[in-house]
């Protein structure tokens, strides 16, 4: 079910009404039933996959916790009779057991994800390199498999690290995995964060409902009025790359940046808003990312939960795992201290960005995209001393115009890298970006070229106004919750804003016949 579909709106309405009608302690069960209905809508046979992940993770985590509890009890009981060596050996053998459970579960689930998602990619590469004619498997991807698999593996690793005990109740755990607002495109939640509000009873609270619905409407506004509208132009530009080079590629970068932002953050707004109406708190996934001044800051503000997931479950474990430490030591010996200390960090970072790219999609476009991000990060790391010298000399840091420069620089840099999302393949993407500097057709902006992309003048007007509204809301959000500020305004003002918001979604939204129906870009995850 698409978020922006009539059936989903109906489903939501029914869920909201039932949620506050059923006895409070059954509310989470209702969410579970609803989530499974939602999931089954995408294809009833797909339930098998999410169930496999749910059951295997729940069971493995429980076993791990059991062993850890066993270990704690045993050590407490035999505290006096064991020496240090014995304790160490005992702990090691217990660790071996829990590790086996953890690895098996990860292998099963990540393996499943890998096979479903990447088999055809591997086949196409084999065909390309060895000129074989292997047929593609065309596996259909279960809804949200990348998101719920990673969320479950995060939970498993947390339990393995004894951060918290496993969830005993299989049904409760199933809800954590399948919670419908977030299963399509995240945010990737941490169990200890989500479980707080997910299972507890919630009474009808005006603020949650009002704020939740406001947030849902805001998400619909961004998605329907801005993102779906811009998509028309982006599609026209991208489907004829030979025709649209030079300044048009600049337009692609710009339009796609706004479009993806509106689409993705809009979807997340809907997600978090829905959860809020249920009284459940989900983590924020975006924090005004286009105000970032450099790439590192950008990745702390864009798709936050993905970034932290990769940091906690890939970057840190790799950085401190034994073979990495050995490698680091070896390289220090061979290449000297300077390189030696960089090796673990850069290698771990490279692995993180390679897997991040791969996670986004089974194509070289995404892998290259990931590695480009890595490259920029490494380069900005290495240029640190140069930057320091520059700032020492010129004292521009903190000045408004310099901040603006940094923001614009980051926006365009990330936008250029992001272009790998939209063009057919890597060489084409590079060629298009290159053409910005080699094709001199800036006059196209003024001779009506933009009017042939499928958008009319009123459409562009709506886009400009919509973008300004988004900007205004972002700016206002820097100093506190926008909804709080709105709530402080007098009733007529407040309700006028709600009225305008809802009406503009219904009138200006790019939905219905005449507009291409488009999915959230992350929907096939």
């Amino acid at each position: 079910m698409l978020f922006t579909s009539y059936s989903f709106i109906l489903f939501l309405t029914v869920m909201f009404l039932l949620y506050y009608a059923v006895p409070k302690k059954c509310q989470w069960m209702l969410l579970l039933a609803g989530s499974y209905c939602f999931y089954a809508y995408s294809g009833i046979h797909f339930l098998a996959f999410i169930l496999l992940t749910t059951v295997s993770t729940w069971y493995s985590a429980r076993r791990i916790t059991r062993i850890q509890e066993q270990q704690a009890a045993y050590l407490k009981e035999h505290k006096a009779s064991m020496d240090k060596e014995q304790k160490k050996r005992y702990k090691a053998s217990m660790k071996k057991k829990t590790k086996r459970w953890m690895l098996t579960c990860i292998l099963l689930n990540i393996g499943l994800l890998a096979v479903l998602k990447y088999t055809d990619f591997v086949i196409s590469n084999i065909n390309g390199i060895f000129h074989t004619g292997l047929t593609f498997m065309n596996f259909a991807l279960p809804l949200g498999i990348s998101f719920y698999t990673f969320q479950s593996m995060g939970y498993l690793l947390d339990v393995y690290r004894a951060k918290y005990p496993a969830q005993e109740n299989a049904a409760k755990f199933a809800l954590f995995v399948s919670f419908f607002p977030q299963v399509i495109q995240g945010p990737i939640s941490r169990y200890n964060d989500l479980s707080g509000t997910l299972y507890e009873p919630h009474s009808l609270e005006w603020r949650n409902i009002s704020y939740g619905i406001q947030r849902i409407c805001w998400g619909f506004f961004k998605k329907l009025v801005i993102a779906d509208r811009l998509l028309v132009a982006v599609k026209s530009l991208v489907s004829a790359p030979d025709e649209y080079m030079g300044v048009y590629v600049v337009l692609v970068i710009f339009f796609y940046a706004i479009e993806l932002y509106a689409d993705f953050t809009g979807g997340i707004d809907i997600t978090i808003g829905i959860a809020q109406v249920f009284g459940v708190k989900l983590a924020e996934n975006f924090e005004r990312p286009f105000f970032s001044k450099n790439i590192t800051e950008y990745w702390r503000r864009w798709h936050i939960t993905m970034g932290t997931w990769f940091k906690d479950y890939i970057f840190y474990p790799i950085s401190v795992c034994p073979w990495m430490l050995r490698l680091s030591k070896k390289s220090r010996e061979v290449f000297g201290k300077a390189i030696g200390k960089r090796v673990p960090v850069y290698l771990a970072t490279a692995i993180v960005w390679f897997t991040t790219g791969l996670w986004h999609g089974a194509s070289w476009n995404f892998i290259v995209w990931g590695m480009l991000n890595f490259l920029v990060i490494v380069i900005s790391q290495e240029l640190e001393p140069l930057y320091a010298k520059f700032h020492n000399r010129f004292h521009v840091s903190g000045k408004t115009w310099y901040n603006a420069f940094q923001i614009l620089r980051t926006f365009w840099l990330m936008g250029a890298i992001r272009i790998l999302d939209v063009y057919r393949d890597v060489p084409l993407s590079f060629r298009q970006v290159g053409s910005i500097f080699t094709t001199a057709n800036w006059n196209e902006l003024f001779n009506g070229g933009v009017m042939r992309l499928g958008l009319t003048m009123p459409d562009y007007l709506v886009l400009v106004l919509g973008a300004l509204v988004m900007l205004a809301v972002s700016l206002a959000g820097r100093s506190g919750s926008v909804r709080d500020k709105l709530a402080a305004k007098p009733v007529p003002v407040r309700y006028l804003v709600y009225y305008a918001l809802i009406l503009s979604i219904l009138v200006l939204g790019a939905y219905g016949i005449g507009y291409d129906s488009s999915q959230f870009i992350y929907n096939q995850f």
Binding site: F49, R100, L116, M137, L141, S239, N365, V422, L428, Q524
Partner: protein, 170 residues
């Protein structure tokens, strides 16, 4: 080891359950893959020296073919837009309008004074048709699709009675 094997096997079995139609997983494949090919694609008909492809712009082709075709036009019910028919010797060319230009909708061969580039004409045998374009369809109706064009050949008692090139528009 045994556990790993069971895990792998169970995975493969499940993966087997997942077979189905492929989905576009990325924006790249869904928006970037549609390439605009300026080259002629699909089944084409040759009128003298002029190659007529389906959905091609009609005006230049009509000028190139020349001659003195019989012309018939039909306005669509209620809406603006004129479908046009040009009857040449041996074939009929029909067009449809998009904005202010006309595009090739179909070419119908009606007598054996013309033939397809593959040598099939009115009166050709069923075997000839199948060796030129392949089997499939029935012994009276053969439909072949390539890119945005469809070639429909009608037969009666084993010989061709009509050859139609039809544009696929959507």
């Amino acid at each position: 080891m045994k556990k790993l094997v069971t895990v792998f096997i169970s995975m493969l079995i499940l993966v087997g359950c997942g077979g189905g139609s492929s989905n576009e997983t990325t924006a790249a494949s869904s928006s970037g893959a549609a390439s605009s090919s300026a080259a002629v694609s699909g089944y084409t008909f040759k009128a003298g020296g002029t190659v007529i492809a389906m959905n091609a712009e009609a005006q230049p082709l009509i000028e190139a073919i020349g001659g003195d075709p019989k012309y018939f036009e039909s306005a669509s019910c209620a809406f603006e837009g004129l479908d046009k028919e040009y009857t040449y010797s041996g074939f009929v060319l029909k067009t449809y309008p998009v904005e202010d230009k006309d595009y090739v909708n179909s070419v119908t061969l009606y007598d054996d004074s013309v033939s397809t580039p593959e040598g099939i004409a009115i009166g050709s045998s069923l075997e000839d048709v199948e060796s030129a374009y392949g089997a499939g369809g029935t012994s009276t109706v053969k439909e072949y699709t390539m890119d945005k064009s469809k070639l429909m050949i009608l037969l009666e008692d084993g010989s061709v009675t009509s050859i139609q090139y039809i544009a696929i528009t959507e």
